[in-house]
Amino acid sequence: MTASFVALEDVCKIYNQGQPNQVRALHNINLVIAANSMVCLQGASGSGKSTLLSIIGCVFPPTSGRATIAGKALSRMPDRFLTIHRRNTIGFIFQHFNILPDLTVLENITLPLMPLGIGPGARKERAERLMEMLSIGHRSNFPARQISGGELQRVAIARALINDPPIVLADEPTAHLDHTLSLAFMEIMRELQRAGKTIILTSHDPLITQHPAVERIIAIEDGEIHVP
């Protein structure tokens, strides 16, 4: 396993720079997240936590400052390489799951493998292992629209893990889950952490922020890390 960590130095992000609608989303963020840890980004809506998650997730580079994710500096990295780095390093779990409803569970999970040129047999084999681990193997050929919310999230987790990324990002993962499913989700995250993954969550949910597996809470306020 590659030593995976996140290091941000004086990171700023400005949207629409030089335009009348310029927005400063992040300002002088300095942050280090150790490999194999579980942290939670906490902040109100519009605080900048999604932007921070996007930079950590290699979705776009910062406007200024230095961001090193899993050993690679993102600054001035072209979009093409950013995508490759994201594909190999990051697994995303979205608030609304972002599962394609007309695809089957298996097709959704294996979607990230398609542009890698991995054949159908190998794709299925990898997906079956994850589906087994997440107890959704019996739903493999069901269209995603026909399965429950809890199962949908497990599909999203399986899709995030299909490339075996060292970092898993989850954006408000329990926002649409009941208490039981939220607890189950956190147990899965704890297992992943034990398996060596670095877990970064965003949430307001006390179930997450107070969960014993979460080692550190990072509070974001007006684009800056808030130190209480």
Partner: protein
């Protein structure tokens, strides 16, 4: 190998994507195939007609002389042949009767051709156009397929009668029937010998409707035609080349007119395709943003759209072109026949042989598939540069 496997995966995904949007895809394919069907049918029909006309006109006389009076054609005296004796290079001059017979029963006009094939150079070649039977002797006629079908009326039309101008009947026996391949010129034709035609139309014995000139050297046709025109100023001298040009011109004009109509349909299709391809639904935009954030490159999304476009246009092209072939071969191009064949009451039931030429096929491909692919790829590129983080919101 990696690239091939990647392409195979993306093709696999594009096919399943088309299937998921099958009603939209099917709608585009139906319209697309319809446009290709129209263009290809039209192109095949026009080409088949001009090819057929060119082949058959090879048997037409090299020069035809018609007497004109007050700007209209009238019978030409056979003594004009003597006046042309001074022109060197004329191999033979054969009188011909070319007239029309109106069949009141069916309301059709027959073309009556009176010739003496046994006294004209290469006259025996006319026999090659006859399917069954032989060149007509006295009181015999060779019938075009349409005339035969009408006169036979379910029988075999061995003997039939036609009215002279004084309403007396003249009886013929059938010597043969023209080949179906010559339908474009012979479908409504009754071919008989010169004396019988003269008798049918009550023409004087020293008259014909025109004189057919055969020349010794084909390179001298234009020169000889000019000399004839100078020598016989009251005649119209028409060369075979001019007749061929007229046929090409008639088909060309008609095909040009119809082409404009079809190009309008093509333009409408391109607008339709653009609208369909560029009108990304929120679901499609979301799908692209999800694909991007989970690791698909912009080029992967473009490749996906490219294969979708290729699939839709290839299937539509094959279906449209095949239907066009069937339409021209088995349904005698029934949609375009009235446009291309014009006025004749007895419409030739053509057995057209569709002409599939690489150049013409590529032209249709360029006019349809290329604009469609452009209409697919360009909006797809616009969609593919959606920021990946839009899936986060």
């Amino acid at each position: 190998m990696m690239s091939f496997a990647r392409q195979a995966n993306i093709i696999d995904y594009s096919l399943s994507s088309l299937w998921r949007r099958r009603f939209k895809s099917l709608g585009v394919m139906v319209v697309f195939a319809g446009v290709i069907f129209l263009l290809a049918s039209f192109q095949m029909t026009t080409k088949a007609l001009t090819n057929a006309a060119s082949d058959i006109l090879a048997f037409a006389p090299e020069i035809t002389i018609q007497k004109m009076k007050a700007g209209r054609q009238e019978s030409i005296p056979l003594e004009y042949k003597e006046k042309l004796a001074v022109i060197l290079g004329i191999r033979a001059i054969t009188p011909r009767i070319w007239g029309y017979y109106f069949n009141e029963t069916s309301g059709a006009n027959y073309t009556v051709l009176g010739l003496d094939p046994f006294s004209m150079p290469l006259g025996d070649q006319l026999g090659e156009a006859i399917d069954t039977g032989a060149l007509p002797l006295d009181h015999e006629a060779v019938l075009g397929q349409g005339v035969f079908a009408e006169l036979a009326g379910g029988g075999d039309a061995v003997i039939f009668s036609l009215f002279r101008p004084d309403l007396s009947l003249k009886t013929f026996s059938r010597a043969g029937v023209f080949k179906a391949e010559t339908n474009i010129l012979t479908y409504d034709t009754l071919f008989m010998n010169l004396d019988d035609a003269r008798d049918l139309f009550s023409l004087p014995a020293d008259m014909a409707t025109d004189l057919c000139v055969t020349v010794a050297n084909p390179n001298e046709v234009q020169t000889i035609a000019k000399k004839i025109a100078a020598l016989l100023p009251d005649t119209r001298v028409v060369t075979r080349q001019q007749i061929q040009k007229t046929y090409q011109g008639v088909f060309g004009w008609r095909s040009g007119f119809a082409s404009i109509c079809l190009l309008t349909a093509l333009a409408a299709f391109i607008i339709f395709a653009w609208d369909k391809a560029s009108g990304l639904t929120p679901e499609e935009r979301k799908e692209i943003s999800i694909l991007k954030i989970i690791g698909w490159q912009t080029s992967d999304v473009l490749t996906l759209r490219f294969w979708e476009g290729v699939t839709v246009s290839t299937v539509s092209f094959v279906v449209g072109y095949t239907l066009a072939y069937v339409h021209v071969s088995f349904f005698e191009a029934s949609l375009f026949r009235p446009v291309l064949l014009g006025w004749s009451v007895l419409h030739p039931a053509l057995r057209l042989v569709p002409s599939v030429e690489l150049g013409e096929t590529l032209l249709i491909l360029c006019l349809t598939v290329v604009p469609y692919l452009a209409a697919t790829i360009i909006p797809a590129w616009r969609a593919a540069i959606i920021p990946a983080d839009s899936a986060l919101n």
